[in-house]
């Protein structure tokens, strides 16, 4: 009777567990399998190819160039987003007149589909009819039209800026959640001790936001690294593949050129990069000082004893 009791929870969750494993695991398994075979354009496995597809991908100049561009894209978009989102979240966390309107405006880009955003911005930066050139001209900042997407550096900068713009709402939401969880009493105590605004930010806000920053960075890296519509619609990877990132490269290989095997190898590489990044990132940002952690736990315990709610 006791033994059944011990196993019954596992028995009960087993169906959903295996369903999840299947739903999540099968596509991964399938891509890994495809990456090891020669595959025709309709996804039919032909013959085992070992690491042939990987060597082929890594001997492709465009693939290597794309890896570099993906790194620039991801670091710039995520870095920019996090740096901008913390102050925005702090402002929105203050109590001021019209806060809910401000919050809505900040979160609005989230409600528009990425594809629509991309199409609209493509028109904004259009050389002949775009409103950006028109505005700059009428402000007297520029004379004549500049075709922004014709130059690789300008095009990449523009997609990165728009990437930041669309990532801000989600990130601000995470940080707002984090700021709400910091008890006001900590700031009050610090102020009584005469801590300046910078010191309060540096020694209270920053450390207590750390877990939220971690989550914001990891989730954003995953989303941005895999983000397809912006670049696809605005530049299609051009000019001359100089704005391609791995995901657009893989898509072109698979659906334009019919090379599903090479695309699968590329996808596996992408997956591996993300897994390695996530593990490394959590390892680097782990709590390095067990003493500090102990102290924090003690703090929490005190707060609990005093029955002070953290939220």
């Amino acid at each position: 009777m006791k033994r059944i009791g011990k196993f019954s929870p596992y028995l009960l969750i087993a169906p959903s567990f295996f369903l999840s494993v299947f739903v999540i695991g099968y596509p991964i398994f399938d891509v890994v399998r495809m990456s090891l075979f020669k595959v025709n354009r309709f996804g039919k496995l032909q013959k085992f190819n070992g690491f042939g597809n990987f060597t082929k991908a890594f001997s492709d100049d465009v693939f290597l160039q794309t890896i570099g561009q993906t790194a620039i894209w991801t670091v710039s978009v995520v870095g920019g987003t996090v740096l901008l989102s913390i102050p925005i979240a702090m402002i929105l966390n203050e109590d001021f007149y019209g806060r809910s309107v401000a919050r809505t405006i900040i979160l609005l880009p989230w409600a528009v589909s990425l594809a629509m955003t991309a199409v609209v911005w493509t028109w904004v930066v259009n050389g002949d009819f775009g409103t950006l050139n028109m505005t700059l001209n009428s402000l007297g900042l520029m004379d004549g039209n500049y075709v922004w997407l014709a130059n690789a550096d300008a095009a990449f900068t523009i997609v990165i800026l728009i990437g930041i713009l669309v990532s801000i709402p989600f990130t601000v939401t995470i940080f707002l959640g984090g700021l709400t969880s910091i008890p006001d009493t900590l700031y009050e105590a610090a102020m009584t001790d005469g801590a300046s605004g910078w010191k309060r930010f540096r020694y209270i806000t920053m450390p207590l936001l750390k877990p939220f920053t971690q989550i914001a960075v990891v989730l954003n890296v995953i989303y941005v690294f895999n983000s397809f519509p912006l670049i696809w619609i605005m530049t299609n990877g051009g000019p001359a593949n100089q704005t391609d990132i791995l995901i657009t490269y893989v898509y072109k290989q698979a659906f334009r050129f019919g090379k599903l095997d090479k695309a699968a190898a590329g996808s596996v590489v992408m997956f591996a990069m993300l897994v390695i990044f996530t593990i490394l990132y959590f390892y680097i940002t782990r709590d390095k000082h067990p003493a500090a952690k102990k102290a924090k736990d003690a703090d929490d315990a005190v707060l609990e004893d005093l029955n002070v709610s953290k939220a």
Partner: protein, 413 residues
């Protein structure tokens, strides 16, 4: 409670049964699924109309038409073929056909077509659908290209006749660009779909070829470099629109329709766009300018029977109906392509319209993109090379050699 449940069950069963029976009736005939890509908003309704007529004419099969936009076509088709849900008949770009045929997705149709049906096509266009001794599809649409000229801008710049050579084109384009006011002499395409096609005009008229006589890439031949430098000269002398590497085919067409472009190389579909969006633009269409050789870019689209179809014979019968004179004339009127049937080439609609006649006249010198399995990827490498050459990031020779090396590597695969 229980009786209510029973009633619900009974009602449900009844509904299910009636649904089944209607489905049963509809599927008594074999269904032929036809998938088409849209040239315009009228393509879908036109083919749906054809299917309706055909369904009313005979009792053997029921034809169902699905239509979707061109950009989604390739991926959708690949996905459906992999999933085993491909239609019986599908429309595609002729350049995809080679790859599809090689991977066994298409049915050879030469054995299913009657001799008279085969002979009704203009041979150049039907021959293009043949490979390895089989016919893999029918040319559903064909186009040649010409040079559209804005007559008003020409008059303003004091140019009396359409330029015949590239040197004359440069001179004319410079005069038009000099008009200022964001008006540009000639459009050069450097971005997106068909960038390579825009380059072929220059390549072929300079005497170059996509595949050289030795069977290797002709992207980096002396003629190809001269052809590229021809466009670079236009760009450097300020005779083109700014930002060539971001200008797609649509961008150029929109500029021309806005009256801001003196010349643009394009196909018959631009007539349609101009008549709808810019009826006030006064234009004429001339032959593509030449250096050594007279040439134009010919493109066909294909309609094929899929290898998985269970009704190949019936499918061909429907296609035979769709390609009769009456239906093709109607199609020509709606979409404005060059006729693919011998009988249509003499049709007044095509010969009397000066905006169509040039394309018919240029058809004999039309050249086509090669039908090789990895063409899309070769064209992509070329596109990247051209982009670097036009922007001045690389010399035309280096950029083209890179593209040629990629093409040779793919030809060897």
């Amino acid at each position: 409670m229980k009786s209510r449940f029973l009633t619900a069950c009974a009602v449900g069963a009844l509904i299910a049964a009636s649904a089944l029976s209607t489905v049963g009736v509809a599927y008594a005939k074999d269904t032929i699924r036809v998938r088409l890509a849209e040239y315009s908003t009228k393509t879908g309704p036109f083919f749906k109309g054809l299917a309706e007529k055909y369904n009313a004419m005979q009792d053997g099969v029921e034809v169902k038409v699905e239509h979707l936009p061109w950009p989604e076509m390739q991926q959708q088709l690949v996905t459906d073929i992999s999933a085993g849900t491909a239609p019986d008949i599908s429309h595609m770009a002729t350049r995809w056909m080679a790859g599809f045929a090689k991977d066994g997705a298409l049915a050879p149709i030469e054995g299913l077509m009657s001799d008279s049906f085969k002979q009704s096509f203009v041979p150049t266009f039907l021959d293009l659908q043949k490979q390895d001794g089989h016919t893999w599809g029918l040319p559903i649409a064909a186009s040649a290209r010409g040079m559209f000229i804005n007559k008003e801008l020409f008059a303003k710049a004091g140019i009396s006749s359409a330029p015949k050579t590239w040197d004359e084109t440069l001179a004319a384009a410079k005069k038009i660009s000099a008009l200022g006011d964001q008006i540009y002499g000639i459009g050069v395409q450097g971005h997106d779909l068909d960038t390579e096609g825009y380059w072929f005009y220059s390549l072929w008229t300079h005497g170059g070829a996509i595949i050289g006589e030795n069977g290797k890439s002709g992207f980096a031949s002396a003629e190809a470099i001269a052809a590229t430098d021809n466009y670079i000269r236009l760009i450097k002398e300020g005779a083109t629109q700014p930002g060539v590497t971001a200008s797609s085919r649509e961008d150029l067409q929109n500029l021309f329709a806005a009256g801001k472009l003196g010349m643009v190389l394009s196909g018959p579909w631009l007539n349609k766009q101009l008549s709808e969006e810019a009826p006030n633009i006064k234009y004429e269409i001339a032959a593509i300018p030449t250096k050594t050789t007279s040439a134009t870019y010919g493109v066909t689209d294909t309609i094929s029977v899929l290898d998985t179809s269970q009704h190949k014979e019936e499918a061909i019968k429907f296609l035979e109906f769709a390609f009769n004179d009456e239906n093709r004339l109607e199609f020509g009127k709606i979409e404005g392509f060059v006729p693919v049937l011998n009988s249509m080439a003499k049709e007044k609609f095509f010969t009397d319209d000066p905006n169509m006649a040039v394309f018919l006249e240029m058809s004999p010198v039309a050249r086509f993109a090669p039908l090789v399995p990895h063409w899309e990827e070769m064209a992509d490498a070329l596109k990247a090379g051209l982009s670097q050459a036009y922007s001045g990031d690389m010399s035309s020779q280096d950029a083209l050699q890179k593209a040629a090396a990629k093409m040779d590597e793919l030809l060897a695969e």
